[in-house]
């Protein structure tokens, strides 16, 4: 199947063939699902992508990318998803921090950090949220005070994904406590092995500890590590959050989950009657299919708009909200379809999909929390897209 939703030109077809050839070679050692999702596997995958010049096809050439067109990026993401390729260990740094440093960083920061992101030598985590600053991120309180050529950082971050294996962290700190809350924030690159940093993993809903609390006490960070102007970190952070927009990978994820719920509906039955024969089930499946198909089309249209040099349509700003909600609803519906077997976990006899249904139900709670909760998304869309007044004033 060659259908990417947009037509391919000659050079794009050549690029697709290159990606496919790479996948044929590289995927051989990643047949096992556990390898694909292990840290070592993800590290190794990034190394191979880097070797093949495919770690970041979207970045400009001078920073180690290939300045891939929007269509090429679509081809790349689609081929990776179709092959079931692992995630590179630094994916979020490639998608978010890298572009932020390209946009705001000094030449020294760019020269030092960008190659190390691509090679996987540095693994980054994001330290934005604090115990009292989540949705209302700008009320963050971690302090940083200038002392000579350094900033001295004190405070606490929380929910920091990947902190337990990353070696670098980018954080937001308050450098001017007297300024209005959006104006006194600075964006900072920090070595996670610096003296004074204490990382305490937090167990998550499904039992494993994949995010952490990160404590800073008198941590010295060179002033040269400030990204963008001092006190202007809010603007820099907004670039980072902007790059977090809906990616193709999410679209592929909901397509896969749709396939999973359809299969579950066909494979499970109550008193001998397949669940898929139930009209309520049929209606739900079609509702999901409609949303998934629409989101696929919206994503490819956004790509096409990019290719044609136009701004993506307003529907693109709704895509993250719609995608995460349909993803979560499908995971929940999967649990319903699996019936009793759905609540059985990995290791239990009779667990649906080897426990993946139960696991999926738990972890998909995050879909409507991370990267802006659904409520915050609705506020932002209401204000930016619909032009409605702010809710807090």
């Amino acid at each position: 199947m060659d259908d990417y939703g947009v037509p391919l030109g000659e050079s794009e077809r050549a690029f697709r063939d290159e990606v496919r050839a790479f996948l044929d070679r590289a995927m051989v050692d990643f047949a096992d699902r556990r390898t694909r999702s292990s840290l070592d596997g993800m590290r190794e995958w990034q190394r191979r992508l880097h070797e093949a010049g495919l770690a970041t096809v979207g970045w400009p050439v001078e920073f180690g990318g290939r300045a891939a067109s929007a269509v090429e990026q679509l081809v790349f993401a689609t081929e990776m998803a179709r092959a079931g390729a692992p995630e590179p260990i630094n994916r979020s740094a490639i998608n978010q921090l890298g572009p932020t440093i390209i946009q705001w960083g000094t030449p020294e920061q760019q020269a030092y950090s960008l190659p190390r992101i691509l090679s996987g030598e540095d693994v980054w985590c994001q330290g934005f949220s604090e115990p009292d600053a989540g949705s209302d991120l700008a009320s963050l309180r971690t302090r940083a005070v200038v002392d000579g050529d350094d900033l001295v950082v004190n405070g606490q971050k929380i929910w920091t994904s990947k902190a337990h294996y990353a070696n670098r962290i980018y954080i937001l700190v308050r450098t001017d406590p007297d300024a209005p809350k959006h104006d006194g924030i600075t964006y900072l690159l920090v070595d996670l092995h610096s003296p004074g940093i204490d990382i305490r993993p937090i167990r998550q809903i499904a039992g494993s500890a994949e995010f952490s609390e990160v404590f800073f006490s008198d941590v010295r960070v060179p002033l040269a590590n400030v990204v963008g102007p001092m006190h202007q970190g809010w603007r820099v952070a907004n670039s980072t959050l902007g790059y977090e927009r809906v990616g193709q990978s999410r679209t592929h994820r909901i397509e896969r989950r749709l396939g999973m719920v359809v299969r579950l509906a066909a494979e499970t039955s109550v008193d001998g009657v397949p669940r898929i024969a139930d009209p309520r089930v049929r209606t739900r499946l079609v509702e999901f299919a409609a949303r998934v198909e629409a989101l696929r089309f919206i994503a490819s249209r956004a790509t096409a708009a990019g290719v044609l040099g136009r701004a993506p349509g307003p529907e693109a700003s709704l895509a993250k909200l719609l995608t995460s909600e349909v993803d979560q609803e499908m995971a929940t519906f999967g649990l319903d379809l699996a019936g009793r077997a759905g609540v059985l976990v990995t290791g239990s006899p009779g667990a649906a999909k080897g426990g993946a249904v139960a696991q999926g139900y738990l972890v998909m709670r995050a879909a409507t929390l991370g990267a802006g909760t659904s409520e915050i998304q609705r506020n932002v869309i209401g204000e930016k897209l619909l032009g409605l007044p702010r809710s807090d004033g």
Partner: protein
Amino acid sequence: MTESLVDLAESLAAVEATRATAAQVLREQWAPARLRAMLDEETPGWAPDLWVRAVGLGWPDLLVAEADGGGGGTTAQLAGIAEEVGRAAASIPFVPAAVAAWCGGPSGPLRTVAFSEPGGSDDALPSARARAAGGGVVLTGTKAFVPYGSAAQSFVTSAVREDSGAPVLCTVDADADGVTVTALRALDAAPLADVAFDEVRVDAAAVLVDGPEARRILDGARARLAVGWAAELVGVAAAVHDAATEYARHRVAFGRPIGAFQAIKHRLVDLRGDIEVARALVGRAAQAIERDASDADAMVALAAFWAGERLRAVPEGAIQVFGGIGYTWEHDAHLYLRRAAVLRALLPPPEVTTEVALAALVAPR
């Protein structure tokens, strides 16, 4: 840019140009207030003057090949104009006339499609019968809920041949012997009708397609009709949603604009999400039809399903946002509510679209 991207850019530009023209014409020559006035009349109403203009612009012949004297337009352009018609709440037979022309060639006087039958889901073979007679056929059967049925001068209709059991499509004049048109009264004053054919003689020239090709044309016509109605419904929903959003920016309660209350803001965001999903599905279905893609039926079914199941709730929600003023005759909200309810009834029912979509979903890929 590659060749194919130029094509894509051109097709997007063509749709936008069509839409922009349509929007302007409708703005100049139509106002929803006219629909309100029609609701007070004894008989169903529509806008023949606007239709004359639309005919002059070639709208009904949009889908007819250029070689046959039509506009050579795409299904995406059909959807573009239909959305604007819906947005304006204009009472013109654009969608059924354009589909009738797709079946039967360039139009003269108003011609509509008469496919659906009483109690039928529209998806099966017609139960109307055609008996061979001379070179033509003799037609007997009943068509129900025919859009613009009491205004049209002729119908493109479907029947099954008694000899072969294969479908046949033909054109029948409304004033031919044996044709009875019963006008219906609908929520939006539209000139819907039931049309009965009793031994109606159709000469050879009026038989449009016959044999195996007829099934393909009939299915293609229904697909375009469904996409057209869904697109019109998108326009209806978008217009009333815009109006409610604008109102929410300014209407003050408890000292702040009501749009600042999340119950209102989030409702409007969610309805907008439903509209964007519908619009995307219409675009996707139009594309699939144009490419004659194997998943075209499923895509049309998804678009019809979503538009039908979700978009009538947009005027419903908008009326909630308007409050008391939205319940008045003088406010436009009910015009959109009425039009949306009728469009939903014109779409294939969810029982049918669900099955078509599911068949594709569970089919091994």
